[in-house]
């Protein structure tokens, strides 16, 4: 058994080395007056080797740790492994160790975080090679891996919180990677600020857990499991759950804290794939699953989680229908899929939620990396209206993306089908039919916008500039190999939990780490029916998208290529016209950003302006100026004592001492 703490520490080492080298190298370049442009090959090789190597090594360590543990666990159960590195803080009865924990939940997370993480690092080697900030990029990416692994492996809430904030920081740093672009900086700031709102909830939630259970170590889950609802003051449990959920909402981009994620696409595409699709954003789901034993004590909180999840799912999917930026579509799709996961958690199907986290990591990472490959092929063109027809030129990208798209749409037997079906099945089993309906509709919408993406990107004729068209080319092997591996993962990852208990590996594995809820039994027939329903919705969505988005100009515009126009079939155009106001609203993303601006930020700004102009400038400055004036006055008087002659001062000293001694002697 390897030491667990090496797993996060290795990427940290990578961060230190890469960061130091990048700092030295960039300052040297700046000193020599060399401008931007790609790094020399040697430096790139070094950064790539260190970056991929440390993460890969940590992945190897992780699998070396978790494979035997998993085998043992499946064979007959294994206790969680807790490894204490040192005592972190202690006061009175309270103490927190810097400790790492390997149990079913963290093993699951660990497996795909290190796996997908390594692939994305590898992909970045090719994707980022023309970037000036290559070293900085790998340093931050390594730091992110460190934080994420700390988050996953943390054996108590404070350690988890280190990772939680660490991934937030890295997310900020990497969204703002192009720090010379205003929108990237603004997006980074937005992500940071919105995450803070959630983090307040999380921190308070940690204190709440401490107050409820007297410890922040995950052992509190055991006590929670053996607790009856009536044992605790329910209100406090609700509060804790809601606070923790607030934190999860922030990190996992749930309504209303989702607004940062679409903007986060300003970062490099591999970052979007790793942080904003596969790993970090699922931390919220992980947190809810981790504390599931607490959540089940508060059924109404669970309901809230389910409704927020379902709402987010359909809301984000609706926005995704009308986005033209390829990464924005994927971003809203991510938000929507995260909604699914919370929906699952909300109805008590934590295992199903985690299952979707697992499969989603594969196909969403694959989609993002594929989109990155497309963007790179088109010279940083992200607007799908200027794409089209490039499938033959980038065959590998196209094929892998198609697999992943089918997976996310829920086509049997790809990964997304099993996980999504598991969620919907659980919702139905819980008797939440409204939520179920929302889920099915969302599934249809998902299939529609994903195929809209594929069609607009790959089908039909090219709509960009001839120059772009000339340069379209397939990506190098460092990028296509990860794509293929992830595509394969999207295809087969679902088989760890095939329905009807044929080989229900995952639930058996996860059961010890999650809360136990009474099973809702459904007949196989009903289950099959539901499955057919969701599959049908998906196929319907696909069919519609394929019909509408032909990628060829309408017959009446044949021959011309109006760039920047969505090329749709007449039926689609007619539908859009009929949709009218609702369509516009969807296109404008339900005006959420504007609403936040008007309702929250606007008033804040007004208050701020008042405090600045009215309170600060007049009142505070008045006090400061008045006291300054007083000091000046006093100083003017006192400066006559400042003769500048040391002997005068010494005499003053002596007289003072005289006075003190006299006081001591005669008092």
């Amino acid at each position: 058994m390897t030491s667990l703490w090496w797993i996060p520490v290795l990427p940290l080492l990578g961060f230190v080395v890469n960061g130091a080298v990048a700092l030295v190298s960039s300052s040297r370049r700046a000193r020599r007056g060399e401008g931007g442009g790609p790094l020399p090959y040697g430096e790139r090789l070094f950064h790539g080797l260190v970056g991929v190597g440390t993460v890969g090594a940590s992945g190897v360590l992780a699998f070396a740790a978790l494979v035997p543990w998993t085998q043992q666990s499946l064979a007959g159960g294994a206790l969680p492994v807790v490894e204490t590195v040192f005592k972190w803080m202690f006061a009175g009865d309270f103490s927190v160790d810097l400790a790492f924990r390997l149990d079913a939940l963290s093993a699951l997370m660990l497996s795909f975080v290190t796996f997908v993480g390594t692939l994305i690092h590898l992909y970045s080697v090719g994707y980022m090679q023309e970037e000036e900030g290559y070293g900085r990029y790998f340093a931050f990416l390594n730091l992110f891996m460190f934080a994420m692994l700390t988050l996953v492996l943390g054996a108590n809430l404070p350690v988890l919180f280190i990772g939680w904030e660490g991934v937030g920081l890295c997310s900020y740093l990497l969204i703002g990677y192009y720090y010379d672009k205003d929108f990237a900086v603004a997006a980074g700031k937005k992500a940071f600020v919105v995450n803070r709102v959630g983090d307040v909830g999380f921190v308070l939630g940690i204190f709440g857990v401490l107050a409820l259970f007297g410890t922040t170590d995950f052992s509190f889950l055991e006590s929670a499991r053996h607790q009856l609802v009536s044992d605790t003051a329910p209100l406090s449990v609700y509060t804790v759950c809601l606070l923790l959920f607030l934190g999860a909402c922030g990190k996992s981009a749930q309504v209303p804290l989702y607004v940062w994620l679409p903007d986060a696409m300003a970062g490099p595409t591999p970052v979007s794939a790793l942080i904003h699709a596969a790993t970090m954003v699922t931390a919220g789901v992980y947190l809810v699953a981790r504390t599931s034993s607490v959540f089940v004590l508060a059924p109404d909180a669970m309901t809230l989680v389910a409704w927020v999840g379902a709402g987010t799912a359909i809301f984000a999917a609706s926005i995704g229908l009308a986005q033209n930026d390829i990464k924005k579509v994927l971003a809203y799709s991510t938000v929507s899929q995260l909604g699914y996961m919370f929906l699952a958690c909300g109805v008590g199907a934590f295992a199903a939620g985690m299952f979707h986290v697992f499969t989603h990591a594969f196909f969403k990472a694959c989609l993002f990396l594929g989109s990155g490959s497309v963007i790179r092929a088109l010279h940083h063109e992200q607007d799908m209206r200027k794409m089209g027809g490039i499938a033959p030129r980038v065959p590998q990208t196209f094929r892998t993306m198609l697999v992943a798209t089918l997976a996310i749409s829920g086509i049997v037997p790809l990964a997304g089908f099993f996980s999504k079906d598991q969620i919907l099945g659980s919702v139905a089993a819980a008797g939440q039919w409204t939520l179920y309906a929302v889920g099915v509709v969302t599934a249809g919408m998902t299939a529609f916008y994903m195929f809209r993406l594929v069609r607009m990107t790959f089908a039909g004729e090219f709509r960009g500039t001839p120059e772009q068209e000339h340069h379209v080319h397939e990506s190098p092997a460092t990028m296509t190999v990860p794509l293929w591996i992830l595509a394969a993962g999207s295809a087969v990852a679902g088989f760890i939990w095939v329905p009807f208990g044929v080989s229900s590996l995952l639930p058996r594995f996860l059961a010890p780490a999650l809360a136990e809820l009474p099973e809702h039994e459904m007949s196989h027939g009903a289950e099959l029916g539901l499955m057919a329903l969701s599959l049908g919705a998906a196929i319907a969505g696909i069919a519609l998208a394929v019909r509408w988005y032909t990628g060829r100009p309408a017959p009446e515009h044949a021959g011309e290529k109006p760039p920047g126009e969505i090329v749709v079939s007449p039926a689609a155009a007619a539908f859009c016209e009929r949709a009218g106001a609702l369509g516009t609203l969807i296109k404008n993303r339900w005006n959420v950003d504007e609403g936040i601006e008007a309702l929250i930020l606007g008033p804040f700004r007004s208050i701020g302006r008042f405090l600045w102009k009215g309170f600060d400038a007049l009142f505070i400055d008045g006090i400061a100026n008045a006291s300054a004036f007083l000091v000046e006055l006093t100083g003017d008087l006192l400066r006559f004592f400042t003769t500048g002659n040391i002997r005068n001062y010494a005499l003053g000293f002596t007289l003072g001492a005289l006075f003190l001694v006299a006081y001591a002697l005669f008092r």
């Binding site: 400066r639 006559f640 400042t642 003769t643 500048g644 002659n645 040391i646 002997r647 010494a650 005499l651 002596t654």
Partner: protein, 101 residues
């Protein structure tokens, strides 16, 4: 038979006062500094006497510190004088009144 501690105390105090008079009346910065060294040592003597009276070896430690700090002070002070002399060609304190308003 031995000497009463009061005698030591008196000797220390007299030395201290002599040092004080020197510090107040001398005009040469170096002489003032010398007087201050004398005052410190007078105080050291008092410390040792009190320590002896109370049977407390801590007094030795404190004197030790006083000496160490005096050494630091002397090094910096003398460096200041040298620097001062370089720029003003004198270290008469009456002619050095840079600290004036």
């Amino acid at each position: 038979m031995s000497v009463s501690p009061a005698a030591f105390l008196a000797a220390g105090t007299v030395l201290f006062v002599i040092g004080l008079v020197g510090a107040l009346l001398k005009r040469n910065a170096l002489s003032i500094f010398l007087s201050i060294e004398l005052m410190m040592n007078a105080v050291n003597l008092l410390f040792l006497t009190y320590g002896r009276m109370r049977g407390d070896p801590s007094s030795h430690v404190i004197v030790f510190f006083v000496i160490a700090i005096a050494a630091a002070e002397a090094a910096v002070g003398l460096a200041v004088f040298v620097a001062l002399f370089r720029s003003r060609q004198t270290i008469e304190v009456d002619r050095i009144n840079l600290l004036k308003w």
